[in-house]
Symmetry: C2
Subunit: 423 residues, 2 copies
């Protein structure tokens, strides 16, 4: 394998350092030369290595709604201590394939754009690479789901929503779909039997048609599919049964978000702003992509500054409280952290995620640090390990969508980090 | 005329209060009903009364780049004093047609979405209406030009640009166009003879094709015109001579912005952030629409929070200095304020703007308060009156694009306000 090259799924890719988008000159020039252009209309903004630029610039290619931070001062995460940074860089651990890894080297190997580590709420490590800057929001992809799931669980806790109710109770439009006999709880925990493929590596997978409906991919002139997220959801047909097994389908989050909007009248951008961003000491506005009728993409549309993602993790680590204020009810956080039935999760066949469960749109590890995490394609991760007083927020632009491409490094790395900090 | 109705250009329009977009329910519901939808694809976001919602929500319909505010605390504009607010509301003046006006009533008559008045740098009046909120950026339209023109004048002052050079010196691509023999100075002062119509009321006017090239209007499936701002500029042909007369053409700003980017390597969004937003105590991020290759629309794409627009005005009133820091060179501000030759301006035939001139993309009144102003279609205005220690920032969503629709009220109103505050 050539130096600076990594091998995945039968292909060679320039590694994180070699594919640096600034060095490669993407979107530089006036105008940028044709071979350095990244355009929505070319429908390849997520192709490698364009993705290394794109994930820090989503709003420049599609419509978005602001997630306003409010007017308060940002919360203090403390300075990054050079000693702790060096100690973490030197951390050694074995990856899942038995190879010895040094933390500092894994940043390039996982195509990390930025990573912040909080221990007991203080920054002990922070790095930015590629196109990311501290103030620049980066695509969260499915980490978005965990924001939405937490807020939905809060609405259930408050009695605004009843998670035992079937979806058509809230959305009569969904009566003729896969969701006719699905409970809100089954949706929140992704135990829905629906004919819908989330195979990112397959260009004909349903996820890409869903993205097209939501305005996140170019449609082409002959497009005659659904033109909104809601319209797409109403085409979904049942497959298998509900409540039997975990099955990761982004459309579930959209159904959940639609219920939340229908009942509260508040869209996800405003809800995340009012319930989380304005109450958690965030330092930058976030944003979320919206479809042609302004509906935020709850399944994967958020972008946030890295430190603000870490602040959300810290809020969850601290049982929903920050600065003496209970932002998310403690019972809701406990429910997310406790997880669901690992036996139902196991049926989904994730070889690298043995013992996990999925609850309120969180991935629950059930590991030695009682960690739960939010995960997004191409390497996005928010890892919360209460028993190690640890939060890791990481943005990446990995060539491969599946988290399985970085999990063999990331999973043991984060556990090793927890053990070291627990020291 | 029915109550709550105003008459313009042979049509009746619901007035500012009656056309309130929140009351009318635009974009409310999940999904909004068909008759309350505002969509980019319908190509009518600026039609009345949809415009009353649209101008506070531009980013939700098109791609945008952030104008980052930086990390500092917002500058203090002081509290709004109820006494001064009431005094201004009671101000009476004659409009240009000789009708008696009361300030408070003119807000609905000019479709004001928000207005802030600063006297000696302190807020003496502030109002928000319709869809606008203090933190929400509102479309500036051509006020954008005055930001860009000020920064270009700064580059000339610093010797980075030579305003005596012809455009092809910087942009060889423009050698075959109207700008082949145009100097940068002639561009900055809009004294260019170019075949291009800016008649907003004419759906076939060139301005709309320019907007289509820039991705700001829906193109339709059979569109085969230019797909970027730069590509459009290269189609422009000469008409008349340069340097003889003021002729307001948005494309001039785009040519100027292209020169600025070509020479500095910094795009307008970043330049406005670094040179103005991060150094002037702004409280919110602004943003600017971008075309399909990420080029900001310098001729009219900015959105800003109202108070931040006022802060820019205050910076200009204070000769480029804020908080003891010289943000814009005093000589540059003086050059903007001094204006150009009113005789060249007069040739453009603006009946309501007698005695004006145009310099560095600013409209210079040469009135008793030495006021200069930034103007945008549908009622956007930043009015800076040094001799009255006055700044007025106003956002509006007037049914008519032309400022002539509100100038008969606005021009005498702002002069009367200056006299009142001068005491």
């Amino acid at each position: 394998m050539p130096t600076g090259t990594l091998h995945f799924d039968g292909h060679d890719y320039a590694d994180g350092a070699t594919s640096d988008p600034i060095t490669l000159g993407w979107m530089q020039g006036s105008p940028p030369p044709a071979d350095k252009l990244i355009r929505f209309e070319d429908d390849d903004t997520l192709s490698f290595p364009k993705i290394r630029w794109s994930l820090s610039h989503t709003r420049e290619t599609v419509p978005t709604a602001a997630i306003w931070r409010g007017q308060g001062a940002p919360s203090d995460l403390g300075p990054v201590d050079a000693t702790s940074q060096a100690a973490i860089d030197a951390l050694q651990f074995d990856d899942m394939h038995g190879g010895r890894r040094i933390w500092a080297d894994t940043l390039a190997d996982t195509y990390t754009d930025g990573i912040v580590v909080l221990h007991k709420g203080r920054r002990v490590y922070e790095q930015y690479r590629g196109a990311l800057r501290p103030h620049l929001p980066h695509s969260c992809f499915s980490i978005t789901k965990s924001f939405a799931g937490t807020l939905c669980a809060k609405l259930v806790y408050e009695g605004v929503l009843d998670d035992g109710k079937l979806i058509p109770h809230y959305l009569p439009e969904m009566a003729g779909t896969a969701y006719a006999d699905a409970s809100l709880r089954e949706v929140m925990d992704m135990q829905i039997g629906v004919a819908y493929s989330e195979a990112y590596s397959d260009p004909s997978a349903d996820i890409w048609n869903f993205a097209r409906a939501g305005g996140l991919r170019s449609r082409g002139h002959d497009y005659d599919g659904p033109k909104t997220l809601y319209a797409y959801l109403q085409t979904l047909k049942k497959a298998d049964t509900h409540g039997e097994a975990f099955a990761y389908k982004t459309v579930n989050t959209e159904v959940m978000g639609w219920v939340m909007k229908r009942v509260t009248g508040v869209g996800l951008a405003d809800m995340v702003s009012e319930q989380i961003w304005q109450r958690s000491g965030m330092e930058e506005d976030g944003y979320i992509t919206v479809d042609s009728i302004g509906v935020p993409f709850g399944g994967g549309g958020m972008s946030a500054a890295l430190r603000d993602l870490a602040r959300f993790g810290e809020l969850m680590r601290c049982r929903g409280a920050v600065g003496g204020q209970q932002v998310i009810p403690e019972a809701v956080v406990a429910d997310c952290n406790r997880g669901a039935d690992p036996a139902k999760f196991a049926k989904a066949g994730y070889k690298l995620l043995a013992g996990y469960s999925y609850r309120n749109m969180w991935w629950v590890t059930h590991n030695e640090h009682a960690a739960f995490e939010a995960r997004g394609i191409h390497g996005q991760r928010l890892y919360i390990a209460p028993k190690a007083d640890l939060v890791v927020a990481r943005f990446a632009s990995h060539p491969i969508a599946y988290s399985a491409a970085n999990d063999p490094i990331t999973i043991p790395g984060f556990i090793a980090l927890g053990r070291m900090l627990q020291g």
